[in-house]
């Protein structure tokens, strides 16, 4: 399944957060989404998911906007903010409601809880979860509908080294199964070992859209390449 951005633009008053992005994010590989704080990564992801309305342009999934899917979880799994969960609700109940909304059987909830290693804490209120556990719950939600597209915003935030390694393997595995994996991160060293393809933006504009090897070529590391690419686009 293909993610297509067509001249995607978002303005907040005088500020242009995303500025005419034209992109195609393809299946079967991990596409890393890089850029300084305020570059427009999260806003772009939110527009793909229909949470923010583009000022102009479109974000499409196989040619259709996210909001046109009646059961979107079967197409796209996403993790934007791990803490977008009611703190008084248990992780399992959160996923049960989520599953119900898209006609996903309840047994799938226990499967994904097992897959992310949260079975033990599933019946505790999510407000008591550590950041890493919250992140795992968010990833469980992203996997719930067994979707061909997975969109993750800073998924390794708050994860311990085991968790980081686990999610790296998970993303590689999802891409190997032919899914579209679109992931933003600030951890360049992590991206260097996880991503196949990179999209770099700065101040809402596209800076690079190329295979990892191509971007890193001629530099000591992705970090060096990144600083050269984004020079002058960081905040202040």
């Amino acid at each position: 399944m293909l993610i297509t951005l067509e001249k995607l633009t978002k303005r907040f008053g005088p500020v242009t957060a995303v500025d005419g992005l034209d992109l195609e994010i393809r299946p079967g590989r991990v596409t890393g989404f890089l850029g300084p704080n305020g570059a427009g990564k999260s806003t772009t992801m939110r527009m793909i998911l229909g949470l923010d309305r583009p000022t102009s342009g479109r974000a499409l999934l196989n040619g259709r906007p996210y909001c046109s899917y009646g059961k979107p979880l079967l197409k796209v799994g996403s993790l934007l903010e791990a803490k977008a969960v009611h703190p008084g609700r248990t992780g399992r109940n959160h996923l049960l409601a989520m599953a119900r909304s898209n006609g996903i059987p309840a047994r799938r909830v226990d499967e994904v809880l097992e897959a992310v290693g949260l079975t033990g804490a599933a019946r505790k209120r999510s407000g008591s979860y550590s950041m890493g556990m919250g992140q795992r719950l968010g990833i469980a939600g992203a996997l719930l509908g067994d979707p061909p597209v997975v969109i993750l915003d800073e998924p390794v935030n708050g994860l311990d080294p085991d968790g980081v390694r686990w999610i790296r393997g998970l993303m590689r595995g999802l891409a190997a199964e032919g899914r579209t994996v679109f992931v933003s991160s600030h951890l360049l060293s992590e991206m260097q070992v996880t991503a196949d393809h990179l999209i770099v933006i700065g101040r809402g504009r596209l800076i690079a859209d190329a295979p990892l090897d191509e971007i890193v070529a001629g530099h000591a590391s992705l970090e060096d390449a990144y600083y050269q690419l984004t020079e002058g686009t960081t905040l202040r």
Binding site: A84, V85, G88, A97, M98, R100, N102
Partner: protein, 240 residues
């Protein structure tokens, strides 16, 4: 239709899986019972305006003046807690149609406030009956009217919650509309101001509850529908 049913199912699970709903319902029942007991004693002492005509049903309606606050809090939290906890962004990624989400929330809140409202009405009348010298007795018609009144107030609260998003502003506006402003308008006893008060949801609902006024019911329904429509519009327009 199946999508709406799925959305209602999800909202149903969400409603019962936080503690808030239980606290609110317990508070509503306690307020209803305590208020009914108090007004029943007033009735015995001849301290009520409609002296001699008070029944267990009318006593329950008076007690509802307190108990409705807990129902209002419950209903508006169903919408506003989405925004205060950030859950709205998760919810909209499951149910991207904002109109469908609002409809599902309205349906769940209306169903729950109707049923628990009827229960509270029966409980209030039962407490009153046990204490009243005369006029006691089970009053199912009034209990059903209380349920309907609370269901419509519930939709009003959900609609306003969708429009305002913040729990505090939503609750303040609700209390102004239902509880606070009408008595202020009625104090000078000027026809125009009384007329405005009659058109507000709390007073209109009160006329429906006490006199079975169809006009009162229609006015209250219009408020609920208007709030839901306004909520839908703003929910669609603004980013989540």
């Amino acid at each position: 239709m199946t999508l709406l049913r799925a959305a209602i199912g999800a909202e149903w699970i969400k409603l019962w899986t936080t503690r808030t709903v239980w606290w609110a319902l317990v508070a509503a029942l306690v307020l209803m019972a305590a208020g009914s007991g108090q007004y029943a004693l007033y009735a015995n002492n001849g301290d009520l305006d409609d002296q001699g005509t008070a029944t267990a049903g009318t006593v329950a309606v008076m007690a509802l003046g307190f108990a409705q606050l807990a129902f209002l809090a419950l209903a508006m939290l169903v919408m506003t807690s989405e925004f205060s906890t950030g859950t709205i962004r998760a919810t909209l990624s499951w149910i991207p149609s904002r109109g469908r989400l609002l409809l599902a929330k309205c349906a769940v809140v209306a169903a729950v406030t109707f049923v628990t409202g009827v229960v509270a009405g029966v409980a209030g009348a039962a407490v009153a009956t046990s204490l009243m010298d005369s006029g006691g007795g089970l009053d199912l018609t009034t209990a059903a009217k209380i349920g309907l009144y609370l269901a419509l107030l519930g939709v009003l609260a959900v609609g306003l919650g969708a429009a305002f998003r913040g729990p505090v502003v939503t609750l303040v506006v609700l209390l102004m509309l239902v509880v606070a402003v009408p008595p202020l308008l009625q104090v000078p006893d000027i026809a125009v101001l009384n007329g405005i008060a009659d058109a507000m949801p709390g007073v209109a609902g009160d006329h429906f509850l006490r006199d079975g006024s169809v006009v009162g019911l229609l006015i209250l329904t219009a408020w609920a529908v208007a709030a839901a429509v306004a909520g839908r519009m703003l929910l669609m327009k603004k980013d989540a």
